[in-house]
């Protein structure tokens, strides 16, 4: 597997899905076990990646490069660098956790796990693809399974949420598609002179045609790409698909949605927009910082007003992704490294929160914050886990979220001082909505209505403990992840900001 590690990671889940297709649908345990195995293999490969990844170079590694569709110069071109590695690791980790977390699914088990594995493949593909066309294909491949996972296994308003998610993302994809075609037509392969989808060629400004060097064209292309990615992040005002989709999706799908899918937006900006249009990245950076600040505060205020736990967590994602944008806008080492670290950390922390919400929803069949109270007495272990996740979310030092937020602030403050001062208010409002929810759900006198709720069980702990350990370890010492990314990202700053 060493040679084609990325392909194995990407396609092993597809093999798993294919195997599941042949298992009789009543043998649910077998299906689940196969799914777990199919998700475990990429996780093992991810560990191998982590061990063997060369941290000293900014270039791409584990490259696989083949011709795919010759007439359009489309290639099967996979490879990873310091930007994609943390995302690949995160995907492998969360996917496996989510398969375990989905053990309670009982409706059309076969379809669920098959779709879930295809989704996983799509995610790996997006993070590994270096051919724009291939990237786009994977990007779209993820959409369908997600649509069905929400639309079939979701909550009461699942159809509305699923279609909203689908169309919204599709609208973004269209813009991306247009930009991609423009790049394809106006970038020449330095060797053959023909059109190319090869991202590395697109990064090199010397390969751009004269038309592509025009300022207005570049503005338009930047905006097209940005909106395409912004919908995924989601950037205000393109975010309203997110609370609906998160709330309606089954727990594990919410985890993937918030934990991995949102990062594709910011990943796309860093992977594609920044190096392809570095001048535009600078042109746009102030706006990006502003949008990030809006996300942080707007998301936090909206979260505060929610009465549904899951919706609150969903809006907290809007807020936390704002920090990522803020860090990206800074174009400083601390800012960008902090941003990518925040992508990773938000993935783990929000996963814990969604899993925790799932725990209580499975038992009480409601997520209404005000319906609870005093659960801390009734479910002490669960109380500990949820508090841990919530404190990680409010940026408590010692847990991973703090490190990335602090780095972002340190990176952006020298560049945009006023914006940072305002954005930093997020640490107050963030604490407010988190603690207020904690109080309403867990503190206060015991509510007799919930006397029969059992505490968290072993399977649920099995999904939470590994994430918790990761959150703690990276909070105490973040270098293992930063080491992976810093060379690449520092190089990216050089490319963009000179």
């Amino acid at each position: 597997m060493g040679e084609h590690i990325l392909s194995w990671m990407t396609f092993f889940p597809v093999i798993g899905a294919a195997v599941i297709a042949f298992i009789p649908s009543e043998r649910k345990e077998v299906i689940k076990t196969v799914a777990a195995a199919a998700a475990a293999v990429p996780l093992i490969l991810a560990v191998q990646l982590f061990m063997t990844f060369d941290r000293t170079t900014a270039g791409f590694q584990f490259i696989e490069h083949y011709t795919w569709i010759k007439s359009f110069n489309i290639e099967y071109f996979m490879g990873i660098d310091g930007l994609s590695v943390p995302m690949v690791l995160l995907t492998a980790f969360l996917s496996f956790i989510c398969v375990i977390a989905s053990w309670g699914i009982n409706k059309s088990v076969k379809g669920y796990f098959a779709l879930f594995l295809i989704l996983e493949a799509g995610m790996f593909g997006v993070f590994c693809a270096l051919d724009f066309f291939l990237f786009y294909v994977f990007w779209e491949v993820m959409l369908l399974p997600m649509y069905f996972l929400i639309g079939i296994w979701g909550g009461p308003r699942r159809e509305y949420a699923a279609i909203k998610f689908f169309l919204y993302t599709l609208a973004g994809s269209v813009l991306m598609l247009l930009a991609m075609i423009a790049f394809y037509l106006h970038t020449s392969d330095p060797v053959t002179g023909g059109h190319t989808f090869n991202m590395l060629h697109m990064f090199d400004q010397a390969n751009h045609s004269e038309w592509l060097q025009g300022t207005n064209v570049r503005h338009v292309l930047w905006l097209a790409l940005f909106i395409g990615f912004a919908i995924k992040v989601p950037v205000f005002p393109f975010h309203t698909w997110l609370p609906d989709a998160h709330v309606e999706a089954p727990t594990a799908v919410s985890v993937i949605l918030a934990g991995v899918l949102l990062k594709m937006g910011t990943y796309g900006i860093l992977r594609i927009s920044y190096p392809m249009l570095p001048d535009q990245a600078l042109w746009f950076s102030y706006t990006l910082a502003l949008l990030g600040t809006i996300n942080i505060l707007y998301g936090a205020y909206c979260a505060m007003a929610q009465t549904d736990m899951k919706k609150l967590v969903a809006y907290s994602s809007v807020s936390h992704m704002g920090y990522v944008m803020l860090g990206m806008a800074a174009m400083t080492s601390a800012g960008i490294n902090g941003a990518v670290l925040q992508m990773f950390n938000h993935g783990t922390i929000t996963a814990m929160m969604f899993l925790c919400v799932g725990v209580v929803y499975d038992r009480a069949h409601t997520r209404e914050i005000n319906a609870f109270g005093g659960l801390g007495m009734q479910m002490p272990l669960y109380f500990s886990f949820f508090s841990f996740a919530l404190f990680a979310a409010l940026g408590l030092p010692g847990l991973s979220g703090f490190v990335s937020e602090a780095m972002i602030f340190m990176g952006v403050f020298p560049v945009y001082r006023t914006i940072t001062i305002i954005a930093a208010l997020g640490i107050i409002i963030g604490a407010a909505y988190v603690l207020w929810m904690l109080q309403r759900v867990f503190l206060g006198p015991k509510n007799e209505k919930w006397d029969s709720l059992p505490d968290i069980n072993a399977r649920e702990m099995f999904t939470l403990v590994p994430i918790g350990i990761l959150v703690l370890l990276l909070g105490v010492y973040p270098m293992p992840v930063l080491d992976l990314m810093k060379v690449t990202l520092n190089n990216l700053i050089k490319v963009v900001a000179g």
Partner: protein, 716 residues
């Protein structure tokens, strides 16, 4: 005496032992005999021992400027890095002593006080976690890790205030404490960012050097200093962010003693004292006024409260105000001195309060009375604490408070700001009065509640022992002298900033042409704040201001005389105040020569204001809270109605357009196209049944636009 490595290891041990205690009791407490309380007590005992070793070492070294600093690179991005490190100097060793002493005694005390509690082991775990975090604050050698541990003590405080979280009051109080602190931390964090951005370092001493050579100066430094001070305002409960501390009394009483009296709330004072060279004169003026106003206003409230712990809580606010006032008057040494003595006698007072509450099962002094006969050890130790707090000569509080009042007066004499001193001396009159009121009501007179009185008994040895030790310390810790003459001067002295600056070989900041002049003027600036700095700012030579902060205690001619005179005058006045205060309280509450209810009636407005704690809470509830909730509601509504409305509206519009175009297709375009249209509509009908139906047209629309646009591009 320890070697340098010895100091390092001892310091690390002090840091790690409480953490280990936390981990062990948190995860395994339930399985251990006695629920593992002995782990906490033993480990804290060991930490105390290590702290004593360090203390003795520094006693022998006898040089306040000696420091041991070790650091490693914690985070490195190549070009951007953060260090983690430990700093031990005289001031650290005092703080280590204070924290480990009180923490150990509180651990011991809690084995009695918390006995039988459902979450007994949790309590010890949290105490361990708190001690770890507090030691972290004390040992940190840079602002980043100061902030890290600063937040962690906040968490510990949150957990312990909310220890009885099934009570609504406790659940409200801990949230309030955390959030109020976060407001302060917002400023603190921005202050840190400002210093970091300006100088590129977070290391304390390197920052001092930068401030000295003028890398950061003027208005920027003033604001950065105010930012840092906001952290202190939050953590040390200064007005207007003091509102959380009285409510924090919801926590178990040992917690109030350790966290909300002796150590954590003093962290803000420690921080400002530790970073004193970073505060320009303008920033210090803010500090001075905030501190003195808090000292006075909080003492006023303590006059009317009837809850034993709340009286002590407001007294703590007031005393913290004194410390902050000392910082503002440019006398961090006396601030630290008062911090030390206060930790002993206020820790003691809270523990005696716990002992009383434990005995009568009430916190209301109206339920007490005559307890001195029932609880002799508690009473005697309580009296020592009270008299020390009141500032009776011979007890530690007298010397430390006197030092502060002297500095405040000296500041007034040189700079014309007399108000802080007046507020301070007024608080010095109030302090003995409210404490003796408490004493006469709780321990003298007739039992207010006979049943409770009969039930009351002296506490067991594990509770009285800490009382006795703290009582002894409350008498002797000052060494019967003010800071600059007692043992304290071996440990704490103003930083010798020029020497520190020389260590780092920094070049003077180029923009600061006047810096050299300003520094030449150091000697003139000694002990004189405010006014010259305002002038300096105006002249664009702000380094002058920071020079002021540097130059303390150098003992130059004029300044010394003023100081000397001020201290003697302040001492005389404060002795008069103590006598007046105690006699007054005796007259009113023991002899009952004054009808307090009549005074209450006559000054009912005043009384209501004090009883209502000046209505800060009500004010915030009506403004900040309400606005925040309203704004959150508004944003959510905006999100639902406007933003989502646009999204859904677009969908709706698209559907209508598609229907119109479908109709056009159907009736105008020829049959072949018609066929296609009806297929699309058929599909649309299918989708419509799944849901609202407005969406499938989206698909049509987007697909069509994609095709069109591809075509356009192809043609191009």
């Amino acid at each position: 005496m320890l070697s340098e490595t010895g100091i390092l290891y001892a310091a690390l041990a002090i840091l790690v032992l409480p953490l280990a205690s936390y981990v062990i009791t948190f995860f395994f407490g339930k399985m251990l005999p006695r629920k593992g309380d002995f782990v906490g007590v033993t480990f804290m005992g060991l930490a105390w021992y290590a702290a004593i070793r360090i203390f003795i070492t520094f006693w022998k070294i006898g040089d306040p400027s000696y420091r041991m600093e070790k650091a490693f690179t914690w985070l490195d991005l190549g070009g951007f890095s953060l260090d983690a490190g430990i700093l031990v100097d005289g001031m650290t060793s005092i703080m280590l002593m204070v924290v480990t002493t009180v923490s150990f005694l509180v651990h011991l005390y809690s084995t009695g006080y918390m006995k039988g509690d459902r979450r007994y082991e949790r309590f010890f775990a949290f105490l361990g976690f708190f001690t770890f975090s507090m030691i972290g604050i004390v040992l940190a050698n840079n602002l980043f890790f100061l902030y890290v541990f600063w937040e962690l003590v906040g968490l510990a405080s949150y957990l312990l205030i909310g220890f009885f979280f099934h009570k609504h009051s406790a659940a409200n109080a801990n949230k309030k404490a955390f959030l109020t602190n976060r407001v302060g931390d917002w400023g603190f964090w921005l202050g840190i960012l400002t210093f970091f951005t300006a100088t590129g370092t977070l290391n304390y001493f390197e920052l001092f050097a930068h401030a000295h050579v003028g890398t950061i100066q003027g208005t920027l430094m003033t604001w950065a200093g105010i930012g840092l001070f906001m952290g202190c305002v939050g953590k040390s409960a200064q007005m207007p962010l003091h509102i959380w501390l009285p409510d924090a009394m919801e926590g178990p009483t040992p917690v109030s003693a350790l966290i909300h009296a002796a150590t954590m709330v003093a962290a803000g004072v420690y921080m400002v004292a530790r970073l004193s060279p970073l505060f320009g004169a303008n920033a210090l003026l803010v500090v001075l006024y905030v501190g003195s106003i808090t000292a006075f206003l909080a003492a006023m409230i303590a006059l009317v409260k009837t809850d034993f712990k709340r009286v002590l809580a407001f007294s703590t606010l007031s005393q913290l105000g004194y410390m902050v006032m000392a910082l503002g008057a440019g006398d961090p040494v006396n601030a630290m001195f008062h911090l030390t003595t206060h930790a002993m006698f206020k820790g003691l007072l809270f523990l005696t309060a716990g002992s009383v509450i434990h005995a009568v099962h009430s916190q209301e002094i109206t339920d007490m009375g005559g307890l001195r006969k029932k609880m002799p050890i508690t009473f005697i130790t309580y009296m020592i604490g009270t008299l020390a707090l009141a500032g009776v000569p011979g007890l530690s509080g007298f010397y430390s408070k006197d030092g502060i009042l002297g500095s405040a007066l000296a500041f007034g004499m040189t700079d014309g700001h007399y108000l802080p001193f007046i507020l301070g001396i007024a608080a010095a009159l109030l302090t003995p009065f409210y404490m003796m009121r408490l004493t006469f009501k709780a321990f003298f007179g007739k039992p207010a509640d006979q049943e409770r009185y009969d039930h009351a008994h002296e506490s067991p040895w594990n509770m009285t022992m800490p009382l006795i030790i703290l009582a002894v310390l409350s008498i002797f810790v000052s060494g019967f002298n003010t800071a600059d003459k007692s043992w304290f001067s071996k440990f704490a002295a103003p930083y010798d900033v020029p020497a520190i600056a020389a260590e780092f070989h920094l070049e003077a900041a180029p923009a600061d042409a006047h810096a050299a002049d300003a520094h030449a003027a150091d000697s003139h600036a000694v002990d004189s704040h405010g006014e010259p700095v305002v002038a300096a700012d105006a002249h664009g030579a702000p380094a002058h201001g920071e020079a002021v902060a540097d130059g303390h205690g150098d003992g130059h001619g004029d300044g010394h005389d003023v100081h000397h005179t001020a201290h003697i005058r302040a001492m005389i006045m404060s002795i008069i105040m103590v006598i007046l205060g105690i006699t007054g309280a005796w007259w009113v509450y023991h002899q009952k020569r004054v009808d307090t209810s009549k005074i209450q009636k006559r000054m009912s407005g005043m009384h209501t204001a004090l009883e209502g704690q000046y209505f800060f809470d009500e004010f915030y509830a009506a403004t900040v809270y309400r606005f925040t909730l309203w704004f959150a509601w508004l944003m959510a509504a905006f999100d639902r109605v406007v933003i989502d409305g646009i999204v859904n509206g677009t969908g709706y519009l698209t559907r209508i357009i598609a229907q119109v175009s479908g109709a056009i297709d159907k009736y105008i375009v020829d049959g072949a196209v018609n066929g296609v249209a009806s297929v699309l509509q058929g599909a649309g009908e299918g989708f419509r049944r799944i849901q609202t139906g407005r969406v499938q047209t989206y698909l049509t629309y987007t697909a069509a636009s994609v095709l069109v646009l591809i075509l356009i591009y192809r043609v191009l």
